[in-house]
Symmetry: C2
Subunit: 132 residues, 2 copies
DNA sequence: ATACATGCAAACACTTTGCAGCACA
DNA sequence: TGTGCTGCAAAGTGTTTGCATGTAT
């Protein structure tokens, strides 16, 4: 039985290309960065198509947006928790390995932590109800 | 002695108005929402001014952007950690009290957690060096 | 008096969408 | 064969910036 929440998609050359290239990028790229990599392989693939495919992946749950809150949205294929430390002054974003506890971030980077933000993503009760 | 990193500002009527209104909003508003509230009190204050003042506050450290990653940036006066749960399907954002541990989010909201993102903000080692 | 802040509008950056043609199932 | 996908360009959304004027210090 087909699930109601299954997203119907056709397998196109563009989709295959974008997904395989994007999947190989592990630096939470912006959509723009994905476009650039895609263009190296197939310059005929349009920007809108890349955006559309990234959004398909998010709907399907195979990609997420990583909120850094400055500039363009960042995408990642993995759904495992992400930890970042962002400088309020220069805007630089540091990757923090997930086993680093808060005090360790200061030690490792000499980073003065002033605050933090946590965002869980998933599916809310109401949407789960609609699916089942 | 004046600190090098002190941001020189003049106290203007606009700044006073925007900061006092914004400080009274505790629902991590978008800049747009702040503009609307400000306009109710003083419609002559321009949108650009609100953005500029919010950005001053971020530089000074008296406000932060809360990354929700969809739509407009959200601002908050407090720098205490924020916890949110966002539905991947409908986009709804739920506030999670900071003492709620991960499993409690599921219990409280019937929310299916698929992943998470953590962002620490503060000042990096290099910027701290420049200041001192 | 003068250097910074404001208001306006235009510019900018990022993303989505309308539409005609194309291609997968 | 037909419905969904693509590419292009235009529109949409959110934010920043240039400039002339105003104003706090």
């Amino acid at each position: 039985m087909t699930e109601k929440n299954e997203i119907k998609t056709r397998n196109t050359k563009q989709k295959e290309t974008v997904i395989s290239i994007f999947s190989a990028m592990h630096n939470h790229p912006t959509a723009e960065m994905v476009c650039n990599e895609v263009a190296k392989v197939d310059p005929t693939i349009g920007r809108a198509t890349v955006y559309r495919i990234l959004n398909y992946m998010i709907k399907k749950g195979t990609a997420i947006k990583v909120p850094i809150y400055d500039g363009a949205d960042r995408f990642d294929i993995t759904v495992k928790p992400h930890f970042h430390a962002k400088c309020r002054l220069c805007g630089k974003v540091m990757d923090v390995t997930s086993d680093m506890k808060l005090p360790k971030v200061s030690e490792a980077f000499g980073f003065d932590i002033e605050g933090g933000s946590v965002l869980y993503y998933g599916r809310c009760a109401e949407c789960l109800k609609k699916i089942n």
